[in-house]
């Protein structure tokens, strides 16, 4: 048992063009993707737009054992259909079809606006509904999750800078948050590879108490109570007020605490991909690290049948109660009538994880580090919540706002406090309040800046993301499509396309395929060797 498993994060960024009120957000998102394509092309001379291969997308398969008919699905669930900007959307944007044409013109695109890219670091950058989304490449440990997640912030920052420098384009601002505070939320999803043999009922039972409470160690904080933020106050989580059910397939409506999408993007019989939609997007490295590190440990507990026997009476209500009390004193009711605070519940999971790690002999450095930091965070929050400001995102935000409110005598409903909440998540180092805090050494980091910057171009070496990323970097002219579990080549002189499946996430690593890339093969020979 350890924190090591195949994982990845998805971030939907909030998008705004301040000088164009009401601008079409799908169009702005497409500008971001196209601007990044232009940036990549300018820097490396690669073809950057790669079609997404939808062949293995099954968004309506439910982990509980059934498939929702397409006719019964909400249109937003049909994520296996390519996004297109419609003529209507372009017209709505004032007839301005320049989402991509000036930022990134590519003959291959045939005047099409680019809506999807697969990046050389193995990530996917695309337009998801009305937001630019960066899906990080598959990684095998929490520290690498942080590295490639933060690389995504640099990717979209580079895109936004490019737009700002392009004549005729309005500046586009991006926010790593999860709500507009007007009733709308967008996600920061996590993905964890699990063995299929683990029962989904056990996953649900083991996760609900953990998910209702992990926000205290890794929430991002939010000003305002209720989905539209009308109630004055500060709460622990960005997302808590947007969840309505315990278990379900949807991600945009009737949001469930445990999502049942059964789309493993890997060998179906062997794996499931747990798709977690309940987390907040974090700017802080330690918060991201603990969010995935503790969750990975809890999944190991569930797989071993050793999750704490806790059951909340009302998990959805508990999620909100915990979020609405930054003092962390609220005790939520268990099914057996006991009451526990969020910190008590977190500690119960921690104790079980530590005991299990000791028994199973998992003593690697990163697992020990996650366990120690988890304990330290709980202890600090118990004695003095504000003392956790250097590592826990919501506390850092809370403390800054409390100090600002004190200094200026402001209530939680003051517009300047609302602006601080928004601007906390501005990804620009010179404007984002998180970044201003970090620049003054007030938050702890785990990775040197150069290491995150390198992950913008370099894929992780120990998963199939290495194969995907290197293919795009080394054979940009020949890759015509890609997805999590395939890379599609067009080999000159051969009829048809060659689809190389990558259904084993731990194959395609540098150790396995690195020599093939170093051999300097032509594309035909390369594809033949890969397939042999």
């Amino acid at each position: 048992m350890s924190v090591h498993r195949v994982m990845g994060l998805e971030t939907e960024y909030g998008v705004l063009a301040p000088s164009q009120p009401g601008a079409n957000s799908t169009l702005l998102s497409a500008q971001v993707v196209n601007a990044y394509a232009a940036t990549v092309r300018a820097g490396y001379g690669h073809l950057a737009g790669t079609r997404w291969d939808y062949a293995d997308e099954h968004p309506l398969d439910d982990a509980r054992g059934w498939t929702v008919p397409r006719s019964a699905a909400d249109p937003s669930q049909l994520t296996d259909e390519p996004a297109e900007l419609t003529a209507e959307e372009i017209a709505l944007a004032g007839g301005d079809a320049r989402a991509g044409s000036t930022l990134y013109s590519e003959r291959e695109a045939g005047g099409h606006v680019l809506m999807n890219m697969v990046l050389g670091n193995g990530a996917r950058l695309y337009v998801d509904h009305a937001h630019p989304e960066y899906s990080s490449p598959e990684t095998t440990n929490p520290l690498d999750v942080v590295r490639w997640d933060q690389a995504g912030d640099l990717v979209v920052l580079a895109a936004a800078r490019r737009i700002a420098q392009t004549p005729g384009f309005a500046e586009v601002l991006l926010y790593k948050n999860n709500t507009d505070n007007k009733g709308v939320s967008y996600g920061a999803h996590e993905n964890y590879l699990m063995p299929r043999k683990t029962s989904f009922d056990a996953i649900v039972a083991g996760l609900l108490p953990f998910f209702a409470t992990r926000q205290v160690i890794c929430g991002s904080g939010r000003v305002g109570l209720g989905s539209a933020g009308h109630g004055p106050g500060f709460q622990v989580s960005q997302r808590a007020d947007f969840f309505e059910t315990e278990v379900g397939l949807e991600t945009t409506i009737r949001r469930p605490m445990v999502n049942t999408r059964d789309e493993p993007h890997a060998v179906w019989d062997k794996y499931r991909r747990l798709h977690v939609i309940i987390g907040d997007a974090n700017l802080g490295q330690v918060s991201t690290y603990l969010r995935v590190g503790t969750t990975a440990l809890v999944l190991s507990l569930i797989e071993a049948g050793e999750a704490p026997a806790l059951r909340l009476r009302h998990p959805v209500a508990a999620l909100r109660q915990v979020s609405h009390d930054p003092t962390l004193r609220t005790a939520v009711e268990l099914a057996d009538g006991r009451r526990m605070t969020a910190l008590d519940i977190q500690e119960a999971y921690l104790v079980a994880a530590r005991a299990h790690c000791e028994r199973s002999g998992a003593g690697d450095a990163q697992t020990r580090d996650v366990l120690e930091r988890w304990q330290r965070t709980i202890d600090t929050l118990r004695t003095d919540v504000l003392a956790a400001a250097s590592t826990v995102d919501w506390v850092a935000k809370y403390r800054l706002m409390e100090q600002y409110r004190d200094r200026h005598g402001l209530g939680w409903d003051d517009p300047r406090i609302a602006l601080m909440d928004l601007q906390w998540a501005d990804i620009r180092p010179e404007k984002g309040l998180y970044h201003r805090l970090a620049a003054r050494g007030l938050v702890e980091t785990l990775l040197p800046a150069e290491s995150v910057a390198a992950a913008v171009a370099a894929p992780p070496e120990d998963t199939r993301a290495y194969f995907r990323g290197r293919c795009l970097t080394d054979f940009p002219e020949d890759v015509v499509g890609a997805s999590w579990d395939a890379v599609i080549f067009s080999v000159p002189g051969r009829a048809g396309l060659e689809r190389v499946q990558t259904l084993e996430p731990l194959r395609g690593t540098r150790a396995l395929v690195g020599p093939l890339f170093e051999a300097g093969l032509g594309i035909a020979e390369f594809v033949d060797q890969v397939r042999s």
Binding site: E12, G14, L16, P18, P21, S25, T26, S76, D128, H129, A130, H131, L143, T179, N181, K182, V184, S185, Y186, G187, H189, T251, T252, A365, Q366, R368, D369, E372, A387, S390, R399, L400, Q403, Y404, R407, P415, A418, L419, M420, L422, Q423, P429, E430, K431, L433, H435, R436, L437, A438, A439, R440, G441, L442, E444, T445, L446, L447, P448, A449, S451
Partner: protein, 66 residues
Amino acid sequence: MAQEQFKAQPAQGAQEEETEAAVSAGPSAAAQEQVQAVDDLLDEIDGVLERNAEEFVRGFVQKGGQ
């Protein structure tokens, strides 16, 4: 506005890459410096915040996401 002030620098207690489980400096010694640093940041914030807070926040309207 604050562009020239921004310089990437390692955070206090920046960790070794790969987890050496480096223990961050005890809070007591750093506490005073932290208070000062936060004070400095509060001084800076008014210059960093977007103009016309109410209107700016009102303009941030998103479409639903996942």
